[in-house]
C-alpha cells in the first residue's frame, strides 16, 4: 500500500487532518470496497468464466473464480457411449486445437487394447498435433493482444489460421470439429499433394510470424503492459500443477514431447523454449517460440512421411471398407455390430497423457471389459491453470487481471468438459 503523504490535499491552511499512516490515500472512505462480478458473459473472459472480485479502487483485494457454465457431462457420457462414439465428444474439449484431443483419446484407447497403428497414421497424427498447437497458440497470443488493444496483430495471425483451416478441411472434412482419428487409425488418408501444401503453408507462416514478432516483442506499450504482470514463479507452478507454456515461462523445463516421447517425437528435432520470469510477457515469448519450433516439426514430418496404410491390421478395431460392407454378408454384419454395440475393450486401466497445447492433457480410462468405459476421466490442463488465477492476480489491478487471464489460455471446453 502506498505511504500517506503529508500535504497531498489542498486544504486551506490552518486545518490539519489526523492521518493514519496505514491508510491508503486513494481510499475516500473506509467501506469503499466494491464487489464486482466479472460475469460469465463478458467480452474479456475467454468463454463462460466468472470471477467475483472485491476491489479497492482498482486493486483486487480478494477474488474467487467459478466455472461450470458450459459443463456438458462428458465424463458421464463417456460411461454411456461406446469408445467409437466418444471420439466426437473429444473434439469439443479443447475446441481451439481439436485434432490434439482426438489423437490423445485414440492413443489412450489403443493403449488399453494393445493396438499397433501403422507409421503413416502416426506421422499424420503428429502433423495434426503440431498444426493444432500452432493454431491454438495463434489464438492465445492474438486474443491476449486484442484484450490489451493490439488488434492488427490478431488479424495477421488469423489469416494464417484460415489457411490452416483449409488444410485441416482437406484432411478431415471439417474445420473445427474434426473427429479425425479413429481407434486404430485415421478417418481418411491425406489427399494427394498434401505434404507440398503443408510445406508451403509452413514457409508462409514462418514469414508471417517474423512479421508479427516485429509488432509486439520490442514494442514499448506491450512491454509496459505485460512485463511483471501476472507473475507465477517456478515454486507456484509446481504447487498448482501448471504444465505447458505457462510452466515453461516460469522456468519449469518439462515438455512431455521430449520427456515422455510418444509417436515418433524421438525422430524429429526440436527445441523446448523455456523462460524465467513467469509473467505475461514470458508466456507470450514462449508461445511464439513454440510456434516456430512446431513449424520445424511440421516440415520434418512432411518430409519423413511415406506412403502406406493408415489403419491398424487389428480386426477388432478396423472399420471395413465400403466395398466389403456393401458386397459381403460378413462385412455388413460386422459393420452393424461395430457401430451399434461397439467393440469390447479388455479389462484394465491406464492414464495416457501427452503434451496438448495447454499442457499435460490426460485420459484416465478404466475399463471392465465392456464396450463402454467404466470411468472416463479427462484431465484438462485449463482447470489447474484457472485455479492459479486467484493467487496470480492478488493485489494486481483489474486491467492486469485481464492481461493475465488472456495469457494462461483457458479454454472453456476442457475446463468445464
Amino acid at each position: 500500500m502506498a505511504e500517506s503523504k503529508q500535504n497531498d490535499l489542498n486544504y486551506p491552511s490552518g486545518i490539519t487532518i489526523e492521518r493514519d499512516p496505514h491508510h491508503d490515500p486513494d481510499d475516500l472512505w473506509d467501506d469503499s470496497r466494491v464487489i464486482v462480478n466479472i460475469g460469465p458473459t463478458h467480452p474479456a473472459m475467454h468463454g463462460a468464466l466468472r470471477m467475483a472480485a472485491k476491489l479497492n479502487g482498482e486493486t483486487i483485494e480478494k477474488s474467487y473464480c467459478e466455472f461450470g457454465f458450459t459443463h456438458r457431462a462428458k465424463e458421464k457420457l463417456g460411461e454411456n457411449r461406446t469408445y467409437h462414439q466418444f471420439v466426437v465428444y473429444t473434439d469439443r474439449l479443447n475446441y481451439c486445437s481439436a485434432l490434439t484431443n482426438n489423437v490423445i483419446y485414440a492413443m489412450a484407447v489403443e493403449r488399453l487394447m494393445g493396438v499397433d497403428v501403422p507409421d503413416r497414421a502416426i506421422w499424420l497424427r503428429m502433423i495434426c498435433c503440431e498444426l493444432s498447437r500452432i493454431i491454438d497458440h495463434l489464438i492465445c497470443v492474438g486474443i491476449n493482444a486484442v484484450d490489451l488493444g493490439a488488434f492488427s496483430y490478431f488479424l495477421y495471425g488469423f489469416h494464417q489460421r484460415e489457411e490452416a483451416y483449409t488444410l485441416i478441411e482437406k484432411l478431415s472434412g471439417a474445420r473445427l470439429t474434426t473427429s479425425y482419428t479413429r481407434i486404430g487409425g485415421l478417418m481418411y488418408d491425406a489427399p494427394e499433394g498434401f505434404e507440398k501444401e503443408l510445406k508451403a503453408w509452413v514457409t508462409k507462416t514462418r514469414a508471417v510470424i517474423d512479421e508479427m514478432d516485429k509488432l509486439l516483442t520490442t514494442n514499448k506499450i506491450w512491454r509496459n503492459r505485460t512485463v511483471g504482470v501476472g507473475v507465477f514463479n517456478k515454486e507456484d507452478c509446481l504447487k498448482y500443477s501448471f504444465t505447458g507454456p505457462n510452466a515453461r515461462a516460469a522456468g519449469v523445463d518439462i515438455d512431455l514431447r521430449r520427456d515422455q516421447p510418444m509417436m515418433f517425437y524421438k525422430d524429429v528435432e526440436f527445441d523446448v523454449p523455456v523462460a524465467q520470469n513467469g509473467d505475461v510477457y514470458d508466456r507470450y515469448l514462449v508461445r511464439v517460440a513454440e510456434i516456430r519450433q512446431s513449424l520445424n516439426i511440421l516440415a520434418q514430418c512432411a518430409d519423413k512421411m511415406k506412403r502406406g496404410p493408415i489403419w491398424s491390421s487389428d480386426k477388432r478395431v478396423r472399420i471395413p471398407d465400403k466395398d466389403v460392407i456393401h458386397n459381403t454378408m460378413e462385412g455388413m454384419i460386422y459393420h452393424f455390430k461395430f457401430f451399434m454395440t461397439g467393440f469390447d475393450v479388455p479389462e484394465g486401466e491406464a492414464y495416457t497423457s501427452f503434451e496438448a497445447t495447454n499442457g499435460e492433457m490426460g485420459f484416465y480410462i478404466v475399463s471392465k471389459g465392456s464396450p463402454r468405459a467404466h470411468r472416463m476421466r479427462i484431465r484438462g490442463p485449463s482447470v489447474w491453470h484457472y485455479q492459479g488465477l486467484t493467487p496470480m492476480v492478488q493485489g494486481e489491478k483489474l486491467a492486469d487481471m485481464v492481461a493475465a487471464l488472456g495469457s494462461i489460455n483457458i479454454i472453456a471446453g476442457e475446463l468445464d468438459r
Binding site: 457420457l77 520427456d259 484431465r379 482447470v383
Partner: protein, 188 residues
Amino acid sequence: MDIRKPIPTNCGDWVTRFGETWKTQVAQLRQKFGDQIQEVRMPPEGLTDVPIIYVKKDSLVPVLAFMKSESGFEYGFLSDITATDEEIEPRFEVVYNLFSQSRHWRIRLKIRVGENEDVPTAVSVWPGANWAEREVWDMFGIKFKGHPDLRRILMDVRWQGHPLRKDYPLRGYQLFPEPEEIDTQLLE
C-alpha cells in the same frame, strides 16, 4: 491382446525402463509403511500401465509427502485426483496420479472409501489439489477432512445429488430459473 502388450510408439517402454525402479520403490514403501500399503498391482500383469498402490486412507498424507520428497521417488507433480464408483463394498476408489518431473516416471495411488467416509485432504502437500478435491466432492459426494473450502465447483450450488455416481441417471436435469448470486462470504 490388451494392455499387457507394449506398443513402442505409445509408451510401451515403461516396463523395461522403470520396472526395476518401481519394484524397489514398492519394496521401500512396504518397508516404511508396513501394513498401511494394502495391495499393489504391478504392470503389466496387473492390467495397468503403472503400479497402483492401494493405501489405507489414514496414512494418505504421510505417503504422499514421502513420495514427494524422498530421493528415489521424487513424485513432485500431481497430475490428477479423481475417483471411481466401483459399486462393491467399499464403494469408491479415490485415485491420485503422480508424475516425477525430474525422473519422468509415473505412479498411481488409490484409496478405497465407503459411502459416508471422509478422506484426508492432500491440500497440505499440494495447494493445487484444492479444486480437484472439490470436483470429487461435487461429482461423487466424497468428503475431504480438513479441506479449506469444500463446495460445489462444476454444478450449481443448489444441485441435489452427485452426478457421477452410478445410480445417478444420465438425464438427471435440474432447472434453476434464477442465477447464482455472488457469495460475499467468500470475499471476506
